[in-house]
């Protein structure tokens, strides 16, 4: 049983990393949002599996949040934003897709090396999970860095947060997991609402970079 539990957790976490990679090469807005929804669903399954294995029913709440909030509501909201702002054509990436993928692989390798070496004494289940979680966090950051668009940056941030939740649930007996996931969800909700209501795309250098340049020239 233990070995099977380990394998399934491993599979789900690996799947999350794979979906993170899928996000990296999406160049259509709607496709990106769909992949993110898939990411959230996988996270929900993974957390639910951890809840079952660790016999920790409170984790089901986290799983439910992931399923309802991240896999359903937020993608729907983002779709509406994309429609409203009329930015569904394409995603401006800063570096090319191939280079981003290579960087992502390097990051996964880095997180494996770091985690497996640092946590040599820890529970093997938690160990693998942590290594995958760190990869997801780094890939999320990479996504935020390599996109210009505010919406895709938010998606990168949310996938980063998924990695954090994965890490928190993977470690047995981690306190305040549910609270953390709730807090993050609220934070993300605020960011999304912020984009939606206030159209703060200039702050995210998405549409009009010339505005920023103008401000800078005034300052200098």
């Amino acid at each position: 049983m233990h070995s099977l539990a380990f394998d399934i957790a491993h599979l789900l976490a690996g799947g999350l990393v794979l979906v993170s990679f899928m996000m990296l090469y999406q160049d259509r807005m709607y496709a990106l949002i769909n992949v993110f929804a898939l990411h959230a669903v996988l996270l929900a399954v993974s957390v639910a599996w951890q809840a079952l294995v660790q016999d920790a029913p409170h984790l089901y709440i986290t799983a439910l949040i992931a399923l309802v909030f991240k896999a359903t509501i937020i993608p729907a909201a983002l779709r509406r934003i994309v429609e409203r702002l009329d930015i569904h054509r394409e995603i401006e990436t800063v570096v090319g897709t191939g280079l981003t993928m290579l960087a992502g692989m390097a990051l996964v390798a880095l997180s494996m090396v770091v985690m497996l070496r640092v946590t040599a004494a820890a529970d093997p289940l938690a160990r693998e999970d942590l290594a995958f979680a760190l990869s997801i966090v780094l890939l999320g950051l990479l996504m935020m860095v390599s996109r210009r668009n505010a919406v895709s940056q938010v998606i990168g941030f949310m996938s980063l947060e998924n990695g954090l939740v994965l890490a928190a649930t993977g470690a047995k007996g981690m306190p305040l997991v549910v609270e953390i996931s709730v807090a993050f969800s609220v934070l993300i909700a605020f960011i999304v609402i912020g984009i939606f209501l206030f159209r703060i795309r200039e702050r995210f250098d998405s549409v009009d970079i010339r505005a920023l340049d103008r401000v800078r020239r005034e300052r200098l």
């Binding site: 800063v94 990051l107 880095l110 997180s111 090396v113 770091v114 070496r117 640092v118 780094l138 950051l141 990479l142 935020m144 860095v145 996109r147 210009r148 940056q153 702050r203 995210f204 250098d205 970079i209 920023l212 401000v215 800078r216 300052r219």
Partner: protein, 664 residues
């Protein structure tokens, strides 16, 4: 110890109450009077405690797992006595001087807080409370420095002081961190164990930077001549006379007490820095014509003298020469006491001049001995004491330092044998130059004829200020003619720090002091005093009898002196010119040039003097330039997009992970 705590608490309450009553007419005498009483009680308490067994106490304040440790041993008692003596006299002076204060609300709250802070620094016995008290002391004195903040010079002085104080605290923080080690406790008791050689050297350097920047060691002295004169005069006296001594205390506490057995080369390092400090301080004082700045530069010089004593004590102690170490250490502590007394006296005198004339520039004073005879006489006593003239107190401690220098040939290391006489020579040079400097300061300020109208109409200062100065002058004389009592009083602190003491002096006939042996040297202040007093009286009587009363006829053209303007008098810069010629070209890269008008042109000739402040130009100006250059460059970072900031975060994260991956 309970008395000390209640005194400190009372001072803090006074400081908190000050803003509420600052509007009252009697606010200033009330606050200063209360500070006087509290300081006097604290002084008596501390002075009697020297020699009693050490007391410890832990209060549940500060960090929860550490508490606030306090330790009251003889060294602390000695420094508390010095601090509170200065505090009491400054309060007494301020009862009168504070009346001239234009904005008492800016001075009154900080003054008692400053006193409380200095008391706390000496009492604390763990790194956390020590640094807290240290910063409290720095900040409250900063508040006093910028109390006249409309003057842009004062604001600049306050800024430089703040920067130097933070730098010093940072160095002390690092030093304590190293002392405690990675798993150590921050209580001083736990730091006593022996330390690794390189680590101890590093700690020594950090403490030299930290305490030295507060004390004014070259090249960290630049803030003293700016900040000390900027404060009101009684605070200048406290900062110059007392706060620098608190820094000396911090140095002694860490290096002599906590750091364990010294290496011999520590003495070389200390003596080199101290000798440079002494000479540079006095030379800069000679070039200075602002009375209070001149005094601040003399503080730099005297700190150098104290550190010469401490350096010798370290050198002797490293070689197990306990007795010689005790002599050098006693000399240093005695100079701490003496300097605090006569420097306060001199600052009070300059404060009296300042409040009477509104001038600090000597070139605009003169002839004040006729208007303010008592202040002039008291200033003269202070000037004689700081110039190390017997029978006053400055002579005794510098003489003892020389006696310690004379013991240095017995040291085994050549480095020490070379540097100790060099430091002695620097000390001798500094003493001579200090005397020249105070001839200038006293002569130009008080003698001759008034150079300005305000100097001509000056009034004698009030009786509180005078009584404070009289008390200090009396202490100068007492310490000078009865040095044996002071040496015996200090000796318990010497035993604590260098495990040895000087021979007991108290029972020697006629209050002679014999530091080493009868055959080598002895000094009797009482006899010197009696001789000087008798011969001076005889000479005065003779002159009065045979010269003054006789009818004299003077030539009509008396070299221009009795007639025309006061501008024909010797000025401060003309007095300093020979010394500027001798030392200036090297130390200040000074250059003079005379611009003569063309023949037939009736405009005035001009003498231009160009001088450079080498430490400032070589260290601080490039540093300031570098900081502003870097901040100009980094300013671009303020205007990036969110994605670029995120990239920085991302790269930093990846870099740190790489470090872990490669190193662990």
């Amino acid at each position: 110890m309970a008395i000390s705590f209640s005194g400190i608490v009372a001072l803090l309450i006074l400081s908190l109450a000050a803003p509420a009553i600052a509007k009252w007419r009697i606010a200033s005498p009330t606050i200063y009077g209360a500070a006087l009483v509290i300081s006097a009680v604290l002084f008596v308490n501390a002075a009697l405690r020297v020699g009693s067994p050490a007391a410890d106490c832990v209060l549940p304040l500060g960090l929860p797992w550490l508490g606030a440790h306090f330790h009251f041993d003889s060294l602390a008692a000695f420094f508390l006595a010095v601090t509170n003596l200065g505090g009491a006299v400054a309060s007494l002076y301020a009862i009168g001087y504070g009346r001239h204060e234009s904005a008492p609300g800016r001075v009154l709250p900080f003054f008692p807080a400053f006193l409380a802070g200095m008391n706390l620094v000496v009492l604390t016995a763990d790194a956390f409370s020590f640094l807290l008290a240290w910063e409290f002391m720095s900040l409250s004195s900063w508040g006093l420095v910028v109390s006249h903040h409309r003057n842009s010079d004062n604001v600049r002085a306050g800024y430089i002081y703040l920067v130097m104080a933070s730098f010093g605290t940072l160095c002390l923080l690092l030093a304590f961190g190293l002392l405690a080690g990675s798993d150590g406790s921050y209580a001083f008791d736990a730091m006593h164990s022996a330390h690794d050689h390189t680590l101890a050297a590093l700690i020594l350097v950090l403490v030299l930077l930290g305490a030295g920047s507060k004390a004014g060691l070259v090249p960290l002295h630049v803030w003293l001549p700016l900040a000390h004169p900027a404060a009101p005069s009684h605070v200048s006296a406290l900062m110059s006379g007392i706060m620098t001594k608190i820094a000396v205390y911090a140095f002694i506490r860490v290096v002599f007490d906590l750091l364990g057995p010294p290496d011999w080369w520590w003495g070389v390092l200390l003596l080199g820095i101290a000798a440079a400090t002494t000479v540079l301080g006095v030379l800069q004082a000679l070039m200075e014509h602002d009375l209070k700045r001149l005094l601040a530069y003399h503080t730099v010089e005297n700190i150098g003298i104290i550190f010469i004593g401490l350096g010798l004590a370290l050198a002797f102690r490293a070689n197990g020469m306990v007795f010689a170490a005790a002599l050098a250490f006693t000399a240093a502590l005695l100079h701490v006491l003496n300097h605090s007394v006569f420097k306060s006296l001199l600052f009070f005198g300059s404060g009296a001049v300042l409040s009477a004339t509104g001038e600090r520039d000597m070139e605009r004073l003169g002839g004040l001995i006729h208007r303010m005879p008592q202040t002039a006489f008291l200033f003269l006593v202070g000037a004689a004491a700081i110039s190390a003239l017997p029978p006053l107190n400055g002579f005794v401690s510098e003489w003892l330092t020389f006696q310690a220098v004379l013991l240095s040939p017995a040291l085994p290391q050549w480095g020490l044998r070379l540097i100790a006489p060099t430091a002695g020579a620097a000390l001798a040079l500094a003493a001579a130059l200090a005397a020249a400097c105070f001839v200038k300061a006293f002569g130009v300020t008080f003698l001759g004829r008034p150079r300005t109208e305000r100097a001509n109409t000056a009034q004698e200062t009030d009786r509180f200020s005078r009584s404070a100065m009289i008390a200090l002058a009396a202490i100068c004389l007492l310490l000078g003619i009865l040095p044996g009592l002071a040496i015996d009083w200090i000796s318990p602190a010497t035993v604590e720090m260098v495990h040895g003491q000087m021979p007991v002096q108290r029972f020697l006939p006629w209050q002679t002091i014999i530091p080493i042996a009868q055959s080598r040297s002895s000094y009797n202040g009482l006899l010197v005093f009696l001789f000087i007093a008798a011969s001076a009286c005889l000479a005065a009587a003779a002159i009065h009898r045979f010269a003054s009363h006789r009818l004299r006829r003077a030539p009509a053209w008396d070299c221009g002196t009795p007639s025309t303007t006061p501008l024909t008098q010797y000025t401060a810069s003309s007095f300093a010119q020979p010394i500027r010629r001798v030392f200036g070209s090297v130390v200040f890269r000074a250059r003079e040039c005379v611009h003569m008008p063309a023949p037939g042109n009736t405009s005035a000739a001009r003498l231009e003097v160009e001088m450079h402040d080498i430490p400032w130009e070589a260290i601080y100006a490039p540093l300031a330039y570098g900081v502003s250059f870097l901040s100009e460059r980094l300013n671009a970072l303020q205007f990036l997009s969110i994605r670029q900031y995120l990239s920085f975060v991302f790269l930093a994260l990846v870099f740190l992970l790489l470090v872990i991956a490669i190193w662990s």
